[in-house]
Amino acid sequence: MANVTDNKALITNRTVWWRRMMSDYGMIVILAALCVLFSLLTIKDQYPTGADAAENVWEQLEDRLTAGARLIVVTQDGKADSEFTEALNVRLEGAASTLLPAVSGSPVEIRAALEQLDSTGQTPDYILTTSAFAATVRMVAQHLSNSSSLSILSPTPHRWPSFLLPENIRNVANQITVIAIIAIGMTMVIITAGIDLSVGSLIALSAVVVAWLVGQWGGTEASTGAMIMASLGGILLCAAVGAFSGFMVTGFSIPPFIATLAMMQVAAGLGYIISQGKPIYQLPDSFVWLGRGVDPLLRIPYAVILMLVLYAVAHVVMTRTTYGRYIYAVGGNPEAARLAGIRVKWILFSVYAICGLLAGLGGVVMASQLKSGAPTYGLTYELYVIAAVVVGGTSLVGGEGRILGTLIGAFIIAVIQNGMNLVNVESYTQKVILGLVILGAVLADRIKQTRFKHKSNKPQAESTA
C-alpha cells in the first residue's frame, strides 16, 4: 500500500504516567483533601504520656541538672504513669544527682509523702510529674519548705491534630480492614458487571461458625491449631456460599442482584440458626491476635498488614495476569470475550467464590477484633463495601475499575466517619453526610469520564484509518 504504518513510534508517544495515574486514582486527591481538612479541624494541645512524656521531661532537665540535686518522680496510679516513672528511672540512672524513690497515688498520699521527705531534710529540688497531674502537684508543693526554689517539671504540650495521632491513624486502619478486605472481592465482581449483596450476611455467618467451631474444639482452652482450623472452616463455608451464587448466576442466568439477595437471606438465617440467636463469647484470649495484635516494630495491627498484603496480591493479579485481564474483558463484553476463547462462565463463577471467601475472611477478622461471634455482625456492611468500590472509581456497568482505587475508596469512607467523630458530628448527621459524599464521588467520576470522552473520543474516530 501507499503508506506504511510503523507503530514503534507509539512507544515514545505514550500517555504521561501521572496523567494516567490521575485518571485511575484521582480520588486520592479527595482523600488527601479530607485528611488535610480533618487535620486542620482537630488541631489542639497534645500532651505526651508514658515513655514519650518521660523523654520530654528528661530533655528539659538534662541541661540544668546540677550535681547533688535531689529528684523525685510523682505520678498518679495507672499503666501510662508507671511507664513514665520507669522510663525516667532508666534515664536518670547513673546521673550525678540523687533520685529519691518515686511516689504515686492520690493528692493526699502525695502530700503526706512529700511532707515526710521535707521533715527528714530530704526536700527534693526537682519534682517530675505528668501533664495531667502537674497542677495538683504544684498545689501540694506550696506547703514544702523550699517552695520558692523548687522546680516542678512536666511535659510541655505541642500543637498537633488529634486526627494525625498514631493511635487515631491505627484506629482508622483498623476500622476499615473488614470492609476493605471484602471490597477486593466486590471490586472483581463489579468489574464483571455483577454485584454481591450477600457479603454482609457472610461476615456474620463466618464469625458465628468460627466461634462455634472454636467452642466445639475446646472453647476458651482451644489450641492455636483448633483456632486456625475453625477460621478456615468459616472462610471455606463462605467461599462455598459465594460459589453457589456464582453457580446460580452462570448456570441459570439468574441476575446477580437476585441470586445474591437470596443468599444474603440464607446466610443471615444460617448464622442465627447456628448461634441460636445469641453471641458466642467463649473464645481463648489469644484469639484476638489477628484483630487486636500489632507488629512489634512499627506497631501496625496484623489485620492491617493482612489487608495490605491482600491488596498487593490482588493488584498484581488484576494487572499482570491473564485471569485479571479476562475479568475486565468479561465485564466489558461477555460475548466478545467468549468468542475470543475465554471461559466466561468459569471467570464469573470464580469471582463470586473469591468474593465469598474474602467475606468469610472479613468475618474472621471481625470475630477476632470483637473476641466473639454474633449473628448481628456485618449488618448493612454490603452497602459500605459497595460504596468503597464505587467511590474508588469502579463502574457499576462493568469492565472498568482499579483494585487500589477501592483501597482509596475504603479509606475515604473511613476517614470521613472518623473525622466526623473527632469533630463531634452527631451520628444521624454523619449518615446524611456520608450518603452525600458517596453521591459526590460518583458524580465527580461521571464528570471526569464524560469530559475525557468528549476530549479524546470523537477526534480519534476521524484521525484514524
Partner: protein
C-alpha cells in the same frame, strides 16, 4: 478555494451552503478545507473513505461540532450552531446509523417525542396516533402506529426515524449510511420515499459506502479525501471506477486482486454438522484455498460458522483437522485447535469497546504470552506493534480505546489478533461490511497472503461480486443446508448462485 470542478449553484437558492470549513481536534486536522452545498429537491451524496472527514463535516452542519473557520448559510442566512438542537430548529434532521428511538414506547410516541401534543395538560394520544398514522401512510409503511418500536425490524425503525423528521417539518434530511442494514427491497422502498421528498423540495444529504446505490440515487456527488472536498460533480459525470479512484486518490488496477493459487491437500473437514437451523452440512477445504459461503440472509451461513467455532450448541456432527477428529464445543477449544472466527458484528461480538486496542488484540493470545498466568508485558507490546504495523493499523497510543478506532481499523485489529493465534483455519464472516474501499482492498491482499502461507480461508459474504472475485470455490446454502457448490468460479455469474440460493 476549493477545487476547480466544484460547481456551487446560486447561493441564494441553496438550502445549505458550507464554504471553507475547517475543523481540528487536539492533534488532528479532521477537515482541512471543505465546501458543500445543497439545493432544494436534490439528493447530494457525500462519499469518501473512512476517516476522510465526512462525518466531521456533517457533524459541523448538524451542530455536534463547532467549526474552527468557514461559513455556513442556511437559506442564505449565516448561522452558527452550538448544539444539535439549534440545527434541528433550523430544519435540519439527521438520521444516524444508530437509531435514536426509545424501544419501549410506541411508534406514535416516538414520532411525537419532545413535541407531544397535549390537551388540558394531559397527553393527547389520539392526535399523536392520528399524526403518526398519516405520516406512516405517506411513507408507505406496512405497520401500525400503536406498535412498540422494539417490535419493529430495522427497516421499519428507520421509517419511524424518517417520519419523525417529517413531523418536525425538516427541509434538510441528512442520512448516514441509511441502507447498511436494509434488504434490497427495503432499499428500493427507501429510495422511492426519498425521491418523493425531493419532489416536494426537500434536500437530502446522503452518506454511503455503497457506491452502486450512490450512483443510482444521487443527483450530485461530492468526494472527500483527507479532509478536503476534492470533487463535486453531477452523478452522470461519474462512473463507479473513477468515483473509487477519486476517493482513494490513485488509479485502481482492479477491484479484486485475486492471485492464482494451487490448492494443497485436504486439511479441514466437517461431517454431517447439525445445530440450530444448520442441517447435515458436510464439506472439505484444502490448504491454500479460499472457500466462499453464499446464501440469502437467514440461510444459515453465520450459524454454520458459529457451529464450527463452537460458539453455538452442536447437536451432532464431527470436525476433522488434518484427518484427526477434533472435539470442539466452545470457542476456547476451537482456538486451541487452530480455528478462528472473525465475527460478523465487530462491535457486539468482536471487540471489548471500552478496553484498549492492545487489550483487544491480546485477548485470545494472552495464554501463549504468559507463564504461570503472569503476562509477559514486553512481549505483548512487541507483538502488538509488529502486527498492527504489518496490517497498517494507525493508532494514537497503546491506551487508545477500541471504540475510538474507525470501522476499518477495528476490523483490521480483530484480524491482527486472529493472525497472532496462528490458526490454520480462518473464517471471515462479512469481512468487508461497513469498511471503506481502501481497507477492503487491503483485506483482499491479506487473504491472498494467508492463502499463500497455506491457510484455509472460509469467507461469508452477502456481496456476490466479492465472493466471485476472491474465492476459489463457493458453497451455496439454503435453509440450513448446502444446496450447491461452484468449483469453476471464473465461469460463473451471480444468477447461477442466486438460483441455488432461493
Amino acid at each position: 478555494m476549493g477545487s476547480p470542478d466544484n460547481r456551487t449553484g446560486n447561493n441564494h437558492s441553496c438550502l445549505v451552503v458550507m464554504s471553507g470549513i475547517r475543523k481540528s481536534f487536539p492533534g488532528v486536522l479532521a477537515v482541512k478545507i471543505a465546501d458543500f452545498d445543497l439545493r432544494p429537491g436534490e439528493i447530494h451524496a457525500l462519499v469518501g473513505e473512512n476517516g476522510a472527514g465526512k462525518s466531521t463535516l456533517i457533524k459541523v452542519l448538524t451542530g455536534v461540532h463547532e467549526r474552527d473557520t468557514g461559513e455556513i448559510r442556511i437559506a442564505g442566512r449565516p448561522v452558527s450552531f452550538r448544539k444539535p438542537l439549534d440545527a434541528q430548529k433550523a430544519g435540519i434532521a439527521t438520521i444516524y446509523q444508530e437509531f435514536t428511538l426509545v424501544p419501549g414506547l410506541t411508534v406514535a410516541a416516538n414520532i411525537a417525542l419532545g413535541h407531544e401534543a397535549t390537551h388540558h395538560g394531559l397527553l393527547d394520544q389520539r392526535r399523536e396516533s392520528g399524526q403518526a398514522a398519516a405520516l406512516l401512510e405517506r411513507l408507505g409503511a406496512d405497520f401500525k402506529a400503536n406498535l412498540l418500536v422494539s417490535e419493529l425490524t430495522v427497516a421499519q425503525q428507520q421509517i419511524v426515524e424518517i417520519a419523525r423528521a417529517l413531523a418536525r417539518e425538516a427541509n434538510v434530511l441528512v442520512m448516514d449510511e441509511p441502507t447498511a442494514a436494509l434488504a434490497p427491497q427495503e432499499v428500493a422502498h427507501l429510495f422511492e420515499n426519498l425521491k418523493e421528498f425531493t419532489e416536494r423540495g426537500m434536500g437530502i444529504i446522503f452518506i454511503s459506502h455503497r457506491l452502486d446505490e450512490v450512483l443510482k440515487i444521487a443527483d450530485r456527488i461530492t468526494v472527500m479525501r483527507d479532509g478536503v472536498t476534492v470533487a463535486t460533480r453531477p452523478t452522470v459525470e461519474f462512473n463507479r471506477r473513477d468515483l473509487i479512484e477519486t476517493m482513494v486518490g490513485r488509479s485502481l488496477d482492479q477491484e479484486y486482486p485475486k492471485e492464482k493459487t494451487t490448492a494443497g491437500e485436504e486439511y479441514f473437514k466437517v461431517h454431517d454438522l447439525c445445530g440450530g437451523i444448520v442441517r447435515d452440512v458436510s464439506f472439505v477445504a484444502r490448504r491454500g484455498e479460499v472457500l466462499g459461503l453464499a446464501g440469502l440472509m437467514g440461510a444459515g451461513r453465520t450459524e454454520l460458522a458459529r457451529l464450527i467455532f463452537g460458539a453455538d450448541h452442536k447437536e451432532s456432527g464431527e470436525t476433522y483437522l488434518d484427518g484427526q477428529k477434533v472435539d470442539i464445543s466452545s470457542p476456547h477449544e476451537a482456538i486451541e485447535a487452530g480455528i478462528c472466527l472473525l465475527t460478523e458484528d465487530r462491535k457486539a461480538q468482536g471487540l471489548v469497546l471500552g478496553a484498549s486496542a492492545m487489550d483487544n488484540f491480546a485477548l485470545p493470545n494472552l495464554r501463549s504470552w504468559s507463564r504461570l498466568s503472569f503476562i509477559d508485558a514486553h512481549k505483548e507490546k512487541e507483538r502488538f506493534i509488529d502486527r498492527t504495523s504489518e496490517l497498517n493499523i494507525r493508532l494514537s497510543g497503546f491506551d487508545q480505546r477500541a471504540e475510538e478506532l474507525s470501522g476499518g481499523n477495528q476490523q483490521k485489529l480483530l484480524v491482527a489478533r486472529w493472525l497472532e493465534t496462528n490458526s490454520e483455519v480462518i473464517i471471515f464472516d462479512e469481512p468487508t461490511r461497513g469498511i471503506d474501499v481502501g481497507a477492503k482492498y487491503e483485506m483482499y491482499l491479506l487473504i491472498n497472503r494467508l492463502v499463500k502461507q497455506g491457510k484455509i480461508i472460509i469467507v461469508i459474504s452477502s456481496e456476490l461480486p466479492e465472493l466471485l472475485g476472491i474465492c476459489d470455490r463457493i458453497l451455496v446454502m439454503r435453509r440450513g443446508r448446502i444446496s450447491g457448490e461452484i468449483s469453476d468460479v471464473a465461469g460463473t455469474d451471480q444468477a447461477e448462485i442466486m438460483s441455488m440460493a432461493v
